[in-house]
Structures are given as C-alpha cells and as structure tokens.
Symmetry: C2
Subunit: 270 residues, 2 copies
C-alpha cells in the first residue's frame, strides 16, 4: 500500500485561530483511493522548520508528501522555498507557472476582484518553483500548486484555502494520484455494540484482529454513560474494490460472530 | 515563551474516519495561557512510531509534550507504553492510578453503565504507568491521564475522548499548566480589509511586521471573488496581560495607519 504524509503550514493553525479541516479532507480522499496516510504534521510559517519536516518525510520514504498552505504572495508564505531547500532544487522562475498566475489576475481583473493584472514582485513570487517542478493549475485562486518528483517520492504543495486545495486535488493532480495509487480501494463497515464498556470488547476484538492482518478493527467509545454504545469500525484495503470487499466481508462476519457468541448484541447506528 | 508540541494518536484520524478536534482545542488553550504550540503531529496507533515522535519532540527541547489518544483498555491503545519507551522509564503498576481506575468502575457500576467493577487485565492496563509518572484524575472516563517529567520537559498523555481530555486539562492538569506557563498572556485583534487581493497587502504588512518583532501579523484570504475581503490578524504575547496588550496596541495601530495611508479601507467583520 502506498503511504502519504501531509504537512499543514500556518501559524494561525497552531495558535488555534483556525481549525485545520484540509488535513482531514485529504486523509479521507487518500483512504478512498486505497492509499494510507501514515502521518501528518502541523507546523509554523517558518522556512527552516518546513524544510526539516519535508526532509523527515523524505527520509521515511513516503511515496507522496502533501504540503498545505504558504503558497501565497506575502512574505510569510515560504513553503515553496522551503521545499526547494529540502529537495536541493533551487527556486527558478517557471514560465508555465507565470502564465497561470498572469491568467488568474487577468480573470480577476475582468471580474472586478482586483484593480489591475500587472505582474508585481508579490505576484511573480508565486511562479518561482523548485528547479524541475511543474505547476498545477489552480481553478479558483492565483497560486498554482507545485508538483516535484524527488526519486520515488512525489512532493505536492497545495494552497491552504480549502476551495483552491480541493480544486487542484480533484483537477490537475488527478493523473498523478492515479499513477501513484492505481486502482487501489478501501472498504469499511461500522457496527454498534450494545455495550458501554470498551474493556469488555478489547480482548474479543484483539482476537479477531489477529486472524485478519489484512483488515483493521477498531472500537471507539464516545464516553461512559447511559445509552452510550461503542462503535466498531472494520475496514480493509486491497488492490481492487473486489479484493478490499472480500477482506472486509471476512473480517466483518468474524467480528459479528465473536461479539454475538459473547452475548454482545449489535444494534443499528443511532 | 514556553513551547508545546501535540501528538494525536489514532488510525481513525489518519483514515479520515474522524476529524481531530482535540488538537485545535488544545492549541487555543495553550495560546490563551500565553504559550505557543510549535508543532503538532497525527500518527498511527503504532508503538514504535509514537516512540519516535515523542523522542523527536524531546530532542527539539519542547517544554510540554501532549499526547492525545490511545490510553484505553484495548490492545491497540499503546501510547503510554510508547512514551515509557521514549523516556526510558519502564512501565510499572501505579497504585495511585489503580485506585483511580477502580473508583471509576465502581462509579460506572453504581450508575449501571457496566456490569461489574472487577479489576480485569484490560482495566488494570490503564494503571500501568512509566516509572516515576503521576496519574491525573479523569472526571469522565476510566483511563487516568499520565504526567511524566523528563529533565525540563513535561510529557502529558491525555485520552482522545474530547470530554475526558477537557476534564483532565481543566482539572488535574491545572497546577502543572500554571507552573509551566506562569502568568503568560496572549492578545489579538482582527481587522477586515476592503480588498480582495492579498498581493497588494503583502508588502504593507511585511513592512509593519518588521517594526514589531513582538507581534504577529498575518493576512488570511478566504478566496477570490466578489465581496471577498481579507482578514488581518494582529496578535502579541507577553509576560502579563498588560504587556501583551501594549504590544498588541502598538502593532495594531501601526497596521491600521499603514493600510489606510495606502487607501485600503478597514470594514467591520461581516
């Protein structure tokens, strides 16, 4: 299974001013593609810190590294420069990126969102890419995404504005995602146990999980209390939707049997 | 300023099954205490991975490391064992923790949430703490939080269930937080600029920020489009509420002047 790491950049995330929702959205997407996010991080708008984090992910041999945020025109948008440093690929003006930035400002000017489309230094900064990188068309905002291949690892830098991130992920990044994850697939099923005590379920689920290494079985209590039930998530990945579903069916039916044979009833998800 | 790191543990977070809200909540709390979260990570329920992450945070000399999740009774709850390994403090039964776990199950039994309060292996696991660690009373669930001092760094392991995490953070952890963060304070103000183009604001804000190293000034566009404005966050930290507010006032009034002198109007937050 191909693994990914996500690095979200932004002081406003760490100060608690903004709840990061991009990481969660990307985790769901990658899981749905049959991949596995192995680790995510949230770090400050600080170039050496971003460089260190990207180097760490490269050293862990992740297949895909997604950075989120810090692509804009302001001085504290330092992600692309930090990625360039981590990959030893000096920044250089990309004509393809510059054309995208210019086209975006032409569009914004026609729409009356900005005064004019002149290529200022701040705007040109968004076209400075690591040597050998490709820009990814941003259908919403001005800053292109950045795609950089470093040996077997693909590093993709996405903007932090959710609409822009989703636009690039679902658009220009599609072929790359298909190349990395192929036809991998993921399937899951949720059971709800009429039991408020996770310590009773623990040994049963551990026994089932040991017999299904291709599946993932996890109980999740919300809290103790009346009417509190425990959700049990059974999931499986495979090289095709059929393979994932077969693994899931085996693990799910074993989970159900093991719980019912211990007198634990399964009930509909409330 | 004292810095903290947060490590959230759980396969369900990385699969995208659950949006992690604990990290954001903790970031807000620590910022409010005058501290700074320097980095957060989200990692799998995997003991060697958790150990590596905690060791990384120790090497970065964070003053406070918060781990979240993986304290429960099931086999995939491995956080405390992984922290013990990272700190070289073998697990041992804590009588104080055992008393807390027993008291919790006595309470759940009286309330009818569980069948009985017998101390099973699964339940006793929650009382196995790194040598020298202290349990932190969990007012909601069964698993105590775990407080471990390693040289100048305080490692605190909190449960992933939000109500339990908040109960410990606002309760048993209070004295420790006061000891670490003292009377540190944080203040912030938000401006909204009647301008949809961050590339125009960039140079102005960079100039102001350079003159106020004790403050933090950040623009945040939502997206391009009609009626889209840019929020500008000005914040400052200080050793007291008064000091933070003074730094904030200086930076905020300078920000306002610099924007208005360039003809950028400030409008109420919609």
């Amino acid at each position: 299974m191909e693994t990914a790491e996500i690095i979200a950049v932004g002081n406003e995330l760490l100060s608690g001013d903004v709840q990061d929702t991009n990481t969660h959205w990307l985790c769901r997407q990658i899981t749905g593609l049959g991949g596995q996010v192995g680790r995510t991080a949230m770090i400050l708008d600080d170039a050496p810190g971003i460089t260190a984090e990207v180097r760490g992910a490269l050293a862990r041999r992740s297949r895909l590294i997604l950075t989120v945020g810090g692509l804009g025109p302001t001085a504290d948008d330092v992600t692309v420069a930090a990625v360039a440093e981590a990959a030893n690929r000096p920044l250089a003006l990309s004509e393809a990126a510059l054309a995208m930035v210019q086209a975006a400002y032409d569009r914004f000017t026609r729409q009356g969102f900005v005064e004019d489309a002149a290529m200022t230094e701040s705007r040109r900064k968004m076209a400075m890419l690591p040597t050998g990188a490709e820009p990814l068309d941003n259908p919403v905002g001005a800053a292109p995404g950045v795609l950089l291949q470093v040996d077997r690892c693909t590093i993709v830098s996405l903007p932090g504005v959710p609409d822009e991130l989703k636009g690039i992920f679902g658009g220009a990044l599609r072929p790359t995602l298909r190349r990395i994850f192929g036809s991998g697939a993921f399937a899951e099923r949720v059971f709800v146990a009429d039991c408020g005590d996770e310590s009773v379920l623990g040994p049963v689920l551990a026994e089932v999980a040991a017999k299904h290494p291709d599946a993932y079985i996890k109980s999740r209590p919300q809290r103790f209390g009346p009417d509190v039930r425990i959700r049990i998530l059974v999931s499986a990945r495979g090289i095709s939707a059929e393979a994932a579903l077969r693994s899931l069916e085996r693990a799910a039916s074993h989970t159900r049997q093991a719980l019912e044979s211990r007198g634990i009833r399964l009930v509909p998800d409330p």
